[in-house]
Amino acid sequence: MIKIENLTKRFGERIAVAGIDLEIKRGEIFGLLGPNGAGKTTTVRILTLLSKKKSGSVKICGYDIEKDSERIKELIGVVPQHMSLDQDLTGRENLVLQARLHHLKNKAAMEQRINEILEFVELTDRADDKSRRYSGGMKRRLMIGMALLHKPKMLFLDEPTVGLDPQVRRKMWDLIRKMNEAGMTVLLTTHYIEEADQLCRRVAIMNRGRIIAVDTPQKLKEKVGRVVVEHMEADGMINNFFDNREQAASYVAGLNSNATVREANLEDVFIELTGRRVND
């Protein structure tokens, strides 16, 4: 679905994306995980034609992003990181605008599609309220609805749940799963470990403009060890990794301090690969 080869982007002297290679398959939810400043949003902005690459090649559904940009715009839906709703318009008017921008000219078909989208994102009752009055979760749902309106093949979600409370975040995950079950290929960027772990079939870990690992969450965790023992030493918190709980238990038995035994997560993978936390 997406093939990226040696993608590079600079802002002046600063290298934001340093020669990344990536392939995203049809029908998967693919996560780009990394801290703020890793280059995730810059990568997505290049893929969604909001920014120009310095070098490298990107193909979406076989189309080149520079030569076939107009075709690609018809194939992709984008939910940017910023809340970019037109707040002077109602929810419905935002959807009408989006429909018009994507040349859904037939009025009856447009209305039907808008009503379908409103139902899908559960905003039918609030469709005629000004979008400035929506809660954060509602705004995000409307933005997803706008991105889906023209039936794209591929959806880009840039930090889709940032700023949302945990309950709303889980509802957003359900929506993303629903879209994927309906056949949508999704690329989402996130710095929330749990989000990448819960949603994504495969995850690319990104740091300082580079992809440092790509695999399923499970296999990434197995690379460092499935079980983690956390305990305090004089230098601070220490993590030791083991393949199973029996090994972890045997290690804990020999410790003098209190310890916590837990499942490994993607943050552990990130720390082991980069030496820093995702939220540093």
Binding site: L49, S51, P80, S84, L89
Partner: protein, 251 residues
């Protein structure tokens, strides 16, 4: 292609029209205060006993006010909202990632600014009628008025795409629009200025607009170079606005 272009222009215009309908009365009240004050203060208060070219000062002033007001309205109703859309609300990205062309977007905004400029001009014409000043609206009057709105709406898009803060936007008005408001033949003729200043003012976009509207409103001949200067400004601003939109995608 052409039908998609026209459809896209109308889509951009449609969005602004939907918003405009919601704030129509607020727009009428807030945007018309300045021209009313100018007309009553200068036209009636100060100019009651002043005569220009054998006619009342009010008759001289009104076409200048129409030029000035349509400039301000066409510019301000596009520049600030588009600047905010680009920098703060990020709603410009909705258009950038959709399959509409930069030219369609710019022209849609130009039409939005023009319609608002024309509506405000109608109100000044009605006020003029109430005050006993009868303007001739045939001939070149409407085309020049539309062209004036086009020029400053296109300039508004350029300003919105280049100025990087809201504070600097008001500085732009102060340094560019306000001097033109007073010096470009709106309140008085520039005849008494030294030649070099007169020549410099004559090629600013508002001067040919004031002169042409005044001539057309009084059934006098419109010099050919007035609309030509305005058309050149429009083409320059429009082309540059399209270029800026293209560059925005390449950041």
């Amino acid at each position: 292609m052409i039908s998609n272009f026209c459809y896209d222009v109308y889509t951009v215009f449609w969005r602004d029209w939907v918003v405009f309908k919601k704030i129509f009365f607020k727009f009428l009240c807030s945007r018309m205060i300045t021209p009313f004050l100018y007309i009553f203060a200068f036209g009636i208060g100060l100019g009651r006993n002043v005569s220009v070219d054998g006619g009342s000062y009010l008759s001289f002033l009104i076409p200048g006010m129409i030029a000035l007001n349509s400039m301000n309205i066409s510019f301000n109703t596009i520049a600030a909202p588009l600047n905010m859309a680009r920098i703060y609300h990020h709603t410009l990205e909705t258009y950038l990632i959709s399959p509409i062309s930069g030219a369609a977007f710019v022209f849609g905004k130009v039409l939005s600014g023009t319609v608002r400029g024309l509506i405000s001009s109608v109100i000044i014409v009605l006020i003029a009628e109430l005050l006993g000043v009868h303007l001739y609206l045939g001939g070149w009057f409407i085309p020049v008025l539309v062209l004036n709105c086009f020029v400053f709406a296109a300039l508004a898009v350029v300003a919105a795409m280049t100025i990087d803060s809201h504070e600097e936007m008001s500085s732009f008005s102060t340094y560019v629009l306000v001097p033109m408001s007073f010096l470009c033949g709106t309140f008085f003729k520039a005849d008494s200025f030294p030649e070099i200043i007169k020549w410099s003012l004559s090629i600013l976009p508002l001067t040919p607009a004031s002169s042409a509207l005044r001539a057309a409103a009084n059934k006098m001949p419109v010099e050919w170079h007035w609309p030509v200067i305005m058309a050149i400004y429009f083409l320059i601003f429009f082309s540059y606005a399209c270029h800026l939109l293209k560059m925005k995608k390449e950041e």
